[in-house]
Symmetry: C2
Subunit: 259 residues, 2 copies
């Protein structure tokens, strides 16, 4: 049996009750934290809280050498843990398909995602978001600035009046997390005066939400990771009110985006 | 203090541990289940499980008469409960803004959403979804068939190769839940041969995933609610494998959608 469990966004209490019970029932736990990371806890704390040893794998240990995970799941109940939801990465889907191919029972226990939190914390409506994008570190995509595909996706969403979640690059193994101010600075090269919303520490007890022009966000400091950006499309009245109250956006800036 | 808590998708154990603890700390709990609904539990079970009385409000009791909720939150810790995530409805955003206006501390504890589950259960990648749509009951939008805005949104997504989550209408107060086969039948008028994926009971221990042409899905029975549909755009290789293994899609049909 292989149970995929999403740990949610922040610490050891971000998991669902159902996920916690499934983990208590597991014989062993395997985790990967290279696609995302829980900022509010540590592997040791997770292990103590859930009273189970956690075998943390790097990318190669999941993608290239999943066989011992699958071998174990043939005889035992193995829990596979990830931050956020559990099926965000194609690797995890692939692992599930391999397990099914081998006749292993699988189960998915969902976790809260950054997409959900981005909508919930900003007051921007869930059904008015278009395709999300990820902004990579320049060294990671091998060129300066923002990839054309990111610009194109945000523009295509804005043309339809839709909001865009901009996930920011994480190199958890190197301890590098792109900040919202750095990301705003990169996007401000094209869109200095465009409204955006920085969200820091989504899912934590003290998240930060700040709505301003990209050039202004670029000069601010949003504290500890993880961060993300939202580039709003057209704003409905209640969305505009939310960005004023929750993100302290100016009335002038919001008026430019209301439809 | 007013804490908005998302209960997740299915039963009393779909809440996060953090949400459960916040609810244990609350002096009173208010809930609305008209925007969505937990199929795997009841208000009585929720109340017993969390050891707190739950005051269930209808639409008017939240939208038009929120004052006693806000009055209570000035002196006590009030938990406001909803299925799924907590900020899915504009009403809840509005309630939060009113609370802040009155100087009441607010907090948001996120829940798992159907969007997350739709991606996780189908193996379709989260960042390849475009704008979501809701398919209303014909009587609810006052015309036969599918609203033009729904068709246009799905088409705009497909032109960009993106997947669409189609939420199905819920009239919880009347006990009416649109089924995936009924929805597929409505969409099949325009798109009989188009690939779609029915997802039933997302978040439950026994979800169903079925991938087939809309005309074929229209003739099937997916059992108990809640249901949703996904209309895929272009399929990456792993997504195609997932729909074959998890949704039993035919190789021929998948080949039409691979890019």
């Amino acid at each position: 049996m292989l149970t995929f469990i999403g740990l949610g966004l922040y610490d050891e209490r971000s998991i669902t009750v159902e996920g916690r019970e499934a983990l208590a029932d597991a014989d062993r736990a395997v985790a990967e934290f290279y696609t995302s990371h829980l900022i509010g806890t540590s592997v040791e704390k997770l292990s103590t809280y859930h009273d189970i040893d956690i075998d943390v794998r790097d990318r190669a240990g999941v993608e290239q050498h999943p066989d011992d995970i699958l071998d174990a799941a043939e005889d035992e109940h193995v829990a596979f843990l990830t931050a956020g939801d559990t099926m965000i990465s194609t690797t995890h889907v692939d692992l599930r398909l391999r397990a099914i191919e081998r006749g292993i029972d699988t189960r998915v226990i969902h976790g809260v995602t950054a997409q959900t939190a981005a909508s919930g914390l900003t007051g921007l409506q869930n059904y008015r978001f278009g395709k999300a994008v990820t902004l990579p570190f320049p060294y990671a995509h091998g060129a300066d600035g923002v990839p054309a595909s990111v610009i194109e996706s945000i523009e295509a969403n804005r043309e339809r009046g839709l909001h865009t979640v901009v996930y920011l690059d994480i190199k958890a193994e190197r301890g590098e997390y792109m900040t919202a101010d750095a990301a705003a600075g990169m996007l401000a090269d094209d869109w200095a005066d465009v409204l955006a919303v920085a969200v820091a520490r989504a899912g934590s007890p003290e998240p930060t939400v700040a709505a301003d022009r990209l050039s202004a966000l670029a000069g601010r400091d949003f504290g500890d990771p993880l961060h993300l950006l939202v580039v709003p499309g057209d704003l409905h009245h209640i969305e505009s009110d939310a960005l004023a109250t929750l993100g302290e956006a100016s009335a002038e800036l919001l008026a430019e985006n209301e439809r």
